[in-house]
């Protein structure tokens, strides 16, 4: 049976990748008038990166293993 933690990992991995991508895009092409305060901190880039790495760890650690 697939562990619940693998589903958590997939969720964090995919969401982290999407948020990280959006953050990197904003760093490369900053909007003329940012709609959020503290835009200069680029929270979506580093938080997205953190979620991506956490999700990657969960996916590897709880991946289905072959049994004899």
């Amino acid at each position: 049976m697939i562990s619940i933690w693998l589903f958590i990992g997939i969720s964090l991995l995919v969401n982290g990748a999407l948020i990280l991508g959006a953050g990197i895009k904003q760093i490369l092409y900053p909007p003329a008038n940012p709609t959020v305060v503290l835009f200069s901190l680029h929270a979506n880039a580093w938080w997205g990166g953190f979620l991506f790495l956490l999700g990657l760890f969960y996916c590897i650690h709880f991946r289905p293993k072959r049994t004899q």
């Binding site: 697939i2 959006a22 904003q26």
Partner: protein, 567 residues
């Protein structure tokens, strides 16, 4: 047919980008995938209704906590923090932690050893059929109505925040929940609750982090709130000496005895919606550890719920008001504070995750209601009253159909509320009528061997009637609140606390009096159900750090320290 574009109105608090919509869509795909994957694991009654009783303490504990971490709770308590200040934290600390630890260490052995499927099932074993039927019918009726009310409230939130059409929100969420719970049963609901737990933390944690950065730290935040509002907004206990010395209009007696000793005990230890998650644990130690793990994380929830409300007091340029005034002036209400803070700090991607967390909280809350309703209907109403001798496969089939029917009744309730808004207040009040007396009945049943079948039944009935009576009295004559809450300065929340306290006392007194007048059950029939007559297995050779009592002690120490720090 309504064109798709017409389903989304232009006035909204936040605007989602394509990446945000992709994150929301991925959530729906993932929960449906989980439901289809778990379909093959829900073939027997134990699998479908009790998740096979094989959950680890972590999964059961996080699910137990998440069942109470719905989107409406998040937004409502963030709004309460804006309205009342840090006092709202009492609902997360004294209004939860002692009850969760009490469930783990005192009550869980009896629930678990009796191998009951539900709380009404325990009442049947301890007090007989009449008590079981009374509590099962009340619970099933209220749960499905509450689910409908929450569905409508969340659709309304989605309309205000995202501009989504009410029908779109109601049908898309209810169909998704119906599919994944009908396929995977309780296991599916639990998996999605754990997923929701992670999404909520991932989606909401940026608000306090960035908010504290903007406010200049906790000390500066307190100073700013004191400057703009009052120092009482940042003190947990020091303003509770009298009803008039704090923004909530309540005193310490109501908080300690009404909230801490009765309402929270009733909710966390006898509301089957949350207790069902613990009953799915794989063994007694896991069942005892699960509420302790839940309590540990519960203490942290104010970070993502209360702190955003307090930050709103300090950093938002506008002043939030009550719903009626906001509707009249076109401004924002207290309940908008969390979406406003989300929009303030969260750019593309983060905003989608925050919105997904709210949707996940709403849907898993509905799934929790539906799965608890399904179990109580099938095991505590259908089986004893309608079809006693059916096969296990028949009951599983009944569970799947009941899931779909329960969702449809909830949808019907949501549309009823849409037509008659006042129904919402009545349904929310209904739930509070029952929970405090039920706690009185269950706790006497577990701790007092002399309590009899008729004592339990009449105590539960009289406690519930007294609660309805007090609520009706104050509804008809609002000045009666001074008698119910014992003060002319008491406000609405004080009524809930004192109403619970009195109905609990009525239940206990009636149970004791009737029990002493009726014939007690033989001790042999109480084995496994009552303290003193039940042998609770202990892990003798386990290290100290593997014992639930050790972790309960750690949680208690942190709980006391937090209350002193924020006194």
């Amino acid at each position: 047919m309504m064109p798709l574009a017409a389903m989304f109105v232009e006035t909204r608090l936040v605007h989602m980008s394509a990446i945000d919509i992709a994150i929301v869509a991925f959530y729906f795909i993932l929960v449906l995938a989980i439901g289809f994957y778990l379909k093959g694991q829900a073939n027997t009654g134990e699998d479908f209704f009790m998740a096979g009783r094989e959950m680890t303490s972590w999964v059961a504990g996080l699910s137990f906590l998440s069942a109470n971490l719905g989107a409406l709770e998040l937004m409502g308590w963030a709004g309460s923090a804006y309205q009342y200040g840090i006092l709202a934290t009492h609902w997360y600390w004294i209004g939860a932690i002692p009850a969760m630890l009490f469930l783990a260490l005192v009550m869980m052995p009896f629930y678990y050893i009796s191998k009951t499927h539900s709380v009404p099932g325990y009442l049947n074993l301890r007090f007989g059929e009449p008590s079981r039927i009374l509590s099962a019918v009340c619970f099933a009726f209220m749960t499905v109505l509450m689910s409908g009310v929450n569905m409508f409230a969340m659709a309304k939130v989605m309309q205000i925040v995202l501009g989504w059409d009410l029908n779109f929100s109601i049908w898309i969420s209810s169909l998704t929940v119906a599919i994944y719970v009908a396929l995977g049963g309780l296991r599916s609901a639990i998996f999605n609750e754990v997923l929701q737990f992670f999404l909520i933390w991932a989606g909401a944690l940026m608000i306090p982090v960035l908010g504290l950065y903007e406010a200049g730290g906790w000390t500066n935040l307190k100073a700013e709130i004191a400057h703009r509002f009052s120092t009482q907004y940042v003190h947990l206990w020091s303003g509770l000496g009298h009803f008039s010395s704090n923004p909530m209009g309540i005193n310490w007696v109501g908080i300690v005895f009404g909230l801490g000793a009765v309402i929270s005990m009733g909710y966390w230890t006898t509301d089957f919606l949350v207790v069902q998650r613990i009953l799915a644990a794989k063994d007694l130690r896991s069942a005892e550890m699960a509420p302790i793990i839940g309590a540990g994380f519960k203490m942290l929830v104010p970070l993502i719920v209360i702190l955003p409300g307090l930050l709103g007091l300090a950093v938002l340029p506008m002043h939030l008001t009550g719903e009626a005034q906001a509707a009249a002036t076109g401004g924002h209400s207290y309940n908008d504070v969390l979406p406003l803070m989300l929009a303030r700090y969260c750019g593309p991607g983060l905003l989608g995750l925050g919105i997904t967390a709210l949707i996940a909280g709403f849907m898993s809350g509905m799934a929790g209601n539906v799965s608890a309703f399904t179990t109580v209907w099938t095991y505590d109403i259908y089986r004893p009253l309608i079809n006693k001798r059916a096969t296990d496969a028949h009951y599983v089939s009944m569970g799947r159909w009941t899931t779909v029917i329960g969702v449809l009744i909830s949808v019907g309730t949501a549309y009823l509320v849409m037509q008659f808004a006042s129904i919402m207040d009545y349904v929310q009040a209904l739930f509070s009528f029952f929970i405090a007396p039920l706690f009185g009945t269950v706790i006497l049943g577990m701790l007092w061997r002399r309590a009899t079948n008729w004592g339990g039944f009449w105590g539960l009935l009289c406690g519930t009637i007294s609660s309805v009576g007090m609520w009706t009295w104050v509804k008809l004559d609002p000045t009666a609140l001074r008698y119910v809450a014992l003060s002319p300065d008491a406000k609405g929340l004080a009524q809930d606390m004192y109403q619970a306290l009195w109905s609990f006392l009525v239940c206990v007194i009636v149970t004791v009096v009737v029990s002493l007048m009726t014939k007690p059950k033989p001790a042999a029939e109480l084995n496994g159900l009552v303290m003193g007559l039940t042998e609770v297995p202990h892990v003798e050779n386990a290290a100290f750090y593997q014992k639930p009592i050790f972790w309960a002690g750690i949680v208690t120490a942190v709980f006391i320290a937090l209350n002193i720090i924020f006194w």
